[in-house]
């Protein structure tokens, strides 16, 4: 039986009807945006409109939007433009920052137990060296949904003459993201995390600047990213960016809070990562309203996710890119939790199609798995099942 409840929106989102509609139409047309004839100009028009839509959503100028093939590519492109700056990245970044940053000899900013980065540590790192820094921080974490104090970080980084890159792949359309207001130099966006298509992302610049391109070739994207524009996906990204998510987010936030409240009533100790301990619910303002990441400290993440899938609920043990690799989340570990806790964490992330029914199905499945007597994996004493 196919699971009926998809609660893994931070991995990817089903395509919104607004995006599907424009993409279906564009896929029936032809034309390369670089061609000067009518077919080409028509294709270019779709790209231009989408560029304005994405720019509008994040408070940018449309000429400062560089379309890429993914958030990952946008992150790589941003880091490539760190130039001779000192590179500082936080410990809880996505692999598409951490992996290239490590190769570039980046210094790591510590995270706190709350999931926020340690501002004092950042400040001391910035003071240690007079060279200007290139700082990369995600706006909202993909695993815990914890939102970083970007305004404060921006102020701090710029006071020290540095540049700020913010990975807003998970934040866009879920919280307010305004590149001008927050004074961000580089901003990463992803199409499929907001209900747009996979295969498109963007790097947005706070102000026009000379860029080193990762992909060289034709002069597309004003020489900043070569390759024929992915017209249909870009158009879909633009359409998804224009969806008014206000009411939807309030609804999703309430569902998430309801889910957490229900889990707490089940009686077992449970840790919600990134949620202020000992404070009253809801705490939506400090995390993305759609994300809940928690651990019960009993069964390991992989076992839980598999068992939930069998029960018809799709959730995740961490970020999708590293799914299948059995290792505790680097995010939760960086927040100071031990491997025993980190190794039992799962992430529930809701989205535009999520309903009360999905939440109830999850709670029922979770409850039944938690109370189930020795399963095969536990009987064998194995913490980790084979992937």
């Amino acid at each position: 039986m196919k699971p009926v409840s998809y609660l893994d929106y931070n991995a990817t989102s089903p395509l919104r009807p607004e995006a599907l509609a424009v993409m279906s139409a564009v896929l029936q047309e032809t034309g390369n945006p670089s061609s000067v004839h009518g077919f080409g100009r028509n294709a270019r028009r779709h790209v231009d409109i989408a560029r304005q839509q994405v720019a509008l959503r994040v408070g940018a100028r449309s000429e400062n939007v560089i379309f890429t093939a993914s958030g990952t590519e946008a992150n790589n492109l941003a880091l490539l433009n760190a130039g001779n700056h000192r590179l500082l990245v936080s410990a809880i970044e996505h692999d598409s920052i951490l992996k290239p940053a490590r190769q570039m000899g980046a210094e790591v900013i510590q995270a706190q137990r709350s999931g926020e980065i340690d501002l004092d540590h950042l400040a001391s790192l910035l003071q240690q060296d007079s060279r200007p820094a290139f700082v990369s921080i995600m706006m909202a974490n993909n695993e815990t949904g914890v939102i970083q104090p970007v305004a404060a970080i921006s102020e701090l980084v710029h006071r020290h003459g540095g540049l700020l890159h913010v990975d807003a792949a998970q934040a866009m359309c879920r919280i307010a993201v305004d590149i001008s207001l927050l004074d961000i130099d580089f901003l990463t966006l992803s199409g499929h995390k907001i209900g747009g298509p996979q295969g498109v992302g963007a790097l947005v610049l706070g102000r026009d600047r000379e860029m080193t391109a990762l992909l060289l070739g034709g002069g597309q994207e004003r020489g900043r990213r070569a390759g024929s524009e992915n017209v249909a996906a870009i158009a879909g990204f633009g359409a998804a960016a224009m969806v008014d998510t206000g009411a939807e987010l309030a609804r999703i936030g309430a569902l998430r809070d309801h889910l957490e409240a229900r889990l707490q009533t089940l009686g077992q100790p449970i840790t919600f990562f990134g949620r202020s301990q000992g404070m009253a619910l809801p705490q939506s303002h400090e995390r993305l309203p759609n994300t809940s990441c928690f651990a019960s400290g009993t069964k390991n993440s992989e076992t839980l996710v598999m068992a939930l899938d069998l029960a018809g609920v799709a959730v995740s043990a961490g970020s999708a890119c590293s799914s299948g690799k059995v290792r505790p989340s680097h995010v939760i570990t960086a927040m100071g939790f031990g491997a025993a806790t980190a190794g039992t964490a799962i992430r529930v992330s809701l989205g535009w199609q999520s309903s009360q029914e999905d939440v109830e199905r999850f709670v029922a499945a979770w409850s039944s798995i938690q109370t189930r007597q020795t399963g095969a994996a536990e009987a064998a004493g194995g913490v980790f099942t084979a992937a």
Binding site: K2, D8, A11, T12, S13, P14, L15, L20, S24, L27, Q28, E29, T30, N32, S34, S35, V36, H37, G38, F39, G40, A43, T68, A69, S70, T72, E73, N75, N76, D95, S96, K99, P100, H192, P197, G199, L214, L215, L216, G217, G218, G219, A226, G227, S228, N230, V231, A232, A233, V305, M306, A314, V315, A317, S319, A320, C321, S322, S323, G324
Partner: protein, 423 residues
């Protein structure tokens, strides 16, 4: 027909009861191709019900998407005679070319530092090479012969002990000529040098076999073969293994060679496009050859002083590139507004510089300016061809009637001998 109306399939492409094709006529199949409706149909379920992230390994939404990706990988591998484990998905041929060149060069940095390519490659190969030169690599840009083909003896002579890679495109995007891939592959293999070919314009149009041709890396594009834009692939040989450094780092997808969430619907579309092309290549080649020859012969019969750029025999059936002497290029383009054609490669078509590919063949600047690239493909009909020929001939005749140069040439004056005075 218009590509806006791509829903027509090749089987029913002959409009009944009318000789007038739908305007404008799309004749720019080397710039991009319409996405085949069968491809769109294959993609659609992956936008909606099968929307999972193919890297989600622990739930069935992920598995379903992964299944789609792996089926497509096999379809792509099949059309080039590769193993599916050798196919890396990218965002397009530009990324594949960047990855192949920079990836191999960076991996072998300090050991081997020489790359060989040709002057008629796509911009993304030439720009990547220039970038590598700035990093300290040596690059040999081989000239091409007048017919657009590389001279194999020159290639042999250019290879040194320092050569790590030869990158020569399979089919040129402007003139459609097919390079002698098997011969190049043989030379490279004998000298222990990697052979990369940009096959964006070749896949699905000519038979390709990475093993028979000793190809070590091959760039593939989705939107040049009736698949979607924003997707491509790089074939990377496993035996003997090609070592390269990734360009985009992150989640470690595509065996670490290319990170980023795989766009399942686009990949499914690329796979389907390959499967269709593989199945239909034989019949479609014959059909396009007939249309292409009809077009070329009719133009030649009606117009003197027209020149085909690039070899006619070693050429894909869907391309003509013709220079029309004694007309003004911009005027010609304006005169055939109903025809969507290109006067150079799409990436540079907005610039007024003469095509560097035509210049490399030794085509003079004036003639290069008056050249048209006529790209025909799966949805081109005989009516489209006849209409296009009629309008090109009319337009050229009209421009020549107004041209004093044409008049002088008719009177037997050698225009090149005239010393033009400044005034």
């Amino acid at each position: 027909m218009s590509a806006n109306n791509a829903a027509k399939t090749p089987a029913n492409d002959t409009a009944v009861g009318t000789n007038k094709p739908q305007l404008p006529i799309y004749l720019d199949y080397q710039a991009t191709t319409p996405c085949d409706p069968r491809v769109v149909e294959a993609m659609l379920p992956y936008f909606t019900e099968k929307f999972g992230n193919p890297h989600s390994r622990n739930h069935s939404f992920g598995w379903e998407a992964e299944e789609g990706v792996e089926k497509a990988r096999a379809q792509v591998a099949s059309i080039i005679g590769a193993d599916e484990k050798e196919v890396i998905f990218t965002s397009g041929a530009t990324e594949s070319n960047n990855l192949a060149l920079k990836g191999v060069a960076h991996f072998h940095k300090g050991k081997k530092n020489h790359i060989i390519t040709t002057v008629t490659e796509h911009k993304c190969i030439l720009d990547s090479c220039r970038h590598l030169e700035m990093e300290g690599f040596k690059v040999t840009y081989l000239p091409v012969q007048q017919n657009g083909l590389v001279d194999l003896e020159q290639l042999k002579a250019a290879i040194t002990d320092q050569t790590v890679l030869v990158s020569i495109m399979a089919v040129n995007n402007e003139i459609g000529v097919i390079q002698p891939l098997a011969e190049i592959g043989k030379i490279c293999r004998a000298r222990g040098v990697y052979f990369h070919t940009d096959a964006a314009q070749a896949v699905g149009k000519i038979p390709l076999d990475v093993n028979a041709m000793n190809i070590d890396m091959m760039s593939i594009s989705g939107h040049k073969i009736y698949g979607p834009k924003g997707i491509g692939a790089l074939y990377v040989r496993r035996k003997p293994r090609v070592r390269l450094e990734a360009l985009i780092h992150g989640g470690g997808q595509e065996r670490g060679m290319r990170s980023g969430t795989l766009p399942t619907p686009l990949i499914v579309g690329l796979g389907e496009a390959c499967a269709i092309a593989q199945k239909e290549m034989g019949a479609e080649t014959e059909r396009l050859k007939y249309l292409r020859d009809r077009m070329y012969n009719k133009i030649k019969e009606q117009l003197p002083e027209v020149f085909l750029n690039g070899d006619l025999e070693q050429r894909i059936p869907g391309n003509l590139n013709i220079s029309f002497a004694y007309v003004e290029g911009e005027g010609l383009m304006m005169g055939i507004k109903d025809l969507a054609v290109s006067s150079g490669s799409a990436c540079t078509s907005a610039s007024l510089e003469p095509s560097y590919v035509l210049r490399a063949l030794g085509v003079e600047e004036e003639l290069a300016h008056t050249s048209l690239r006529l790209g025909i493909g799966r949805f081109t009909t005989e009516q489209d061809i006849d209409y296009a020929v009629e309008h090109i001939v009319q337009s050229v005749n009209r421009l020549r009637a107004m041209s004093p140069l044409w008049e002088m040439a008719q009177e037997g004056i050698d225009i090149k001998s005239i010393q033009w005075a400044e005034h």
